[in-house]
């Protein structure tokens, strides 16, 4: 018996292991890429408007900047207040092909001391938190950024 694995937001990422990808949408007319996905109309004011097609984003990018959360964020971030706060890193990653920057948490165990601007990272599946008990609870899944040199 395990918790049901549910994406923290539907439609933003998919796949397992090496096939895990962030999902965006691309305008078929102007090639703009959107993350989080844009499903209405293209937001480029100079674009006549094309179909927005779901596309997986590049797995790898380079660090634009990074920081960490030394204090517990407020709700709606979910964390167990019974446990001591464990800081995590937040990494903004530049994706060359899509020409955009995506923010995400770094993988657990990586600290700001391990990071540098320009360093290559890759997107990996991650666990944001767990609700309820082992049998009927929910495991909220998310994406994490991991330096490509790290395999843990």
């Amino acid at each position: 018996m395990t918790r049901t694995r549910t994406p923290v937001v539907a439609g933003w990422f998919a796949g397992e292991g090496e096939d895990f990808r962030l999902l965006g949408t691309r305008c078929s007319a102007c090639a703009s890429v959107y993350f989080p996905r844009q499903d209405g109309a293209c937001r480029n004011p100079g674009c006549a408007g094309g179909d927005l097609v779901e596309v997986p984003l590049s797995r790898r990018g380079r660090i634009w900047s990074y920081t960490d959360a030394r204090y517990r964020p407020p709700e709606p971030y979910v964390s167990d207040r019974e446990l001591p706060w464990e800081p995590y890193t937040l990494i903004a990653v530049e994706l060359a092909a899509e020409r955009l920057v995506v923010l995400g948490q770094g993988v657990p165990g990586v600290s700001v001391a391990d990071l540098e601007i320009g360093m290559e990272v890759e997107v990996v599946p991650g666990l944001l938190g767990e609700d309820g008990d082992e049998a009927s609870g929910t495991a909220w899944t998310t994406w994490h950024w991991r330096p490509t040199g790290v395999t843990a």
Binding site: S32, Y34, T67, A69, Y71, P76, S79, T142
Partner: protein, 396 residues
């Protein structure tokens, strides 16, 4: 200049953590501004309130809430929300009404009663709201973004932690001279360095607090000012409320990602610099004519960013400008002589109005111990969540 409006009065409620309603702070600031203008409340033809989300419905309808608290007298009323740019939009609304001939005298009020610690989104499950999403999915607080910008500046421009600390030292020294400021003690670089890291590389004393506070202005037509006996009032010459242009390629609050530049080449100007550019163009002045600037020092590193975005120096040269003392009192272009948010803390709908209060006192020459000698032209700059520009140019 036909586009000018007069600043007849300016007033504040002292900032701090007072634990009372935002209505009390706003009405106290309004009464102070009316007294400063020498105007009776019944003479005000229009009230513009800058909204706060923390007061429930009264906060969302701040204009009417302040009007009721001051005593219903039939004035035209407007309430505006633009996050941290709410105060600038309230000023812009009042100015537009005056220039359109809809009102001669307008009262602008903003006030807030902020929570302790991090700002957080309004309650409920709202996955369509980017502000809710960044907290739920990433736990990305405002200092997260300040930390990202600070680290980026260190890597790209060579700014140091000592540079950031010096911004706090400068602003705290100014705040110590300001009776409206919440924090009124000098701070040393050692104290900044010894404070706890909040969002690497920024420490507690690099980041502004959340505060209660209120600020208010009485604005009028130039004709009314003359009739009222104000022959040489401080004048508002420009108000910039621009949005970004697509693609916005700098990661910004509250977004999880930037726009993509794959479809359109960026035009080169960042959003923050476009806010200032619009203000300069409307005012017909350039950065070299400024006597002082009040900028949004949400973090020490962000104040340095504004030096460049306001054109006070070239890109990457902000730390050098700071080290030279150019932005300190007595320097070429003093920045945040009020003490800035470093000394006030954030009271969201009040702060863009408070910046203009400081310009007003400085341009009148009544700023006391923190007076910038011979001040003639001042600019404010800030930025509201969700793409709200905010900059005001005032002259004398």
């Amino acid at each position: 200049m036909t586009g000018d409006v007069a600043v007849l009065g300016a007033g504040m409620h002292p900032w701090g953590k007072w634990g009372r309603s935002f209505v009390e702070y706003g009405t106290a600031a309004a009464r102070a501004a009316l007294a400063d203008a020498g105007i009776g409340w019944r003479d005000v033809q229009s009230v513009v309130g800058a909204d706060t989300v923390r007061g429930g419905y009264p906060g969302y309808v701040a204009g009417a809430t302040f009007a009721k608290a001051l005593g219903w007298q039939g004035a035209r009323v407007t309430s505006v929300y633009a996050a941290c740019a709410s105060g600038a939009q309230a000023i812009a609304t009042a100015r537009a009404q005056i220039l359109a001939g809809l009102a001669d005298v307008v009262l602008v009020v903003g006030a807030d009663a902020a929570p302790k610690g991090f700002f957080r989104p309004a309650g409920g499950d709202r996955p369509d709201d980017p502000d809710w999403l960044r907290f739920r999915v990433l736990g990305a607080t405002n200092p997260t973004y300040f930390g990202l910008y600070a680290r980026r500046r260190m890597a790209v421009h060579g700014d140091t932690l000592e540079d950031f600390a010096q911004v706090k030292v400068k602003n705290a020294a100014c705040g110590a001279l300001n009776p409206h400021a919440r924090y009124r003690t000098a701070v040393s670089a050692e104290e900044v360095a010894a404070s706890a890291v909040v969002a690497d590389p920024l420490r507690l004393l690099d980041i502004c607090a959340t505060s209660d506070g209120g600020a208010s202005l009485v604005l009028s037509s130039m004709e009314f000012a003359r009739r009222h006996g104000a022959t040489d009032p401080v004048r508002i010459r420009a108000v910039s409320t621009v949005t970004p242009t697509y693609p916005n390629t700098v990661l910004d609050l509250p977004d999880i990602a930037t726009d993509s530049a794959a479809g359109v080449e960026p035009d080169g100007a960042s959003f923050r610099s476009s806010i200032a550019r619009a203000a300069y163009e409307e005012a017909g002045i350039g950065p070299e004519e400024l006597s002082l600037a009040e900028v949004y020092d949400l973090s020490t590193a962000l104040e340095l960013q504004w030096y460049e975005d306001l054109g006070l120096c070239a890109e990457g040269a902000a730390a050098k400008l700071l080290r030279e003392g150019a932005t300190a009192p007595g320097g070429r272009i003093p920045v945040n002589v009020s003490g800035g948010l470093a000394s006030f803390g954030e009271a969201v709908p009040a702060q863009a109005i408070a910046q203009v209060c400081e310009l007003t006192w400085q341009l009148r020459g009544t700023a006391g111990a923190r007076q910038v000698t011979g001040a003639r032209v001042g600019i404010t700059a800030n930025q509201g969540l969700f793409g709200h520009g905010s900059s005001v140019v005032a002259v004398r």
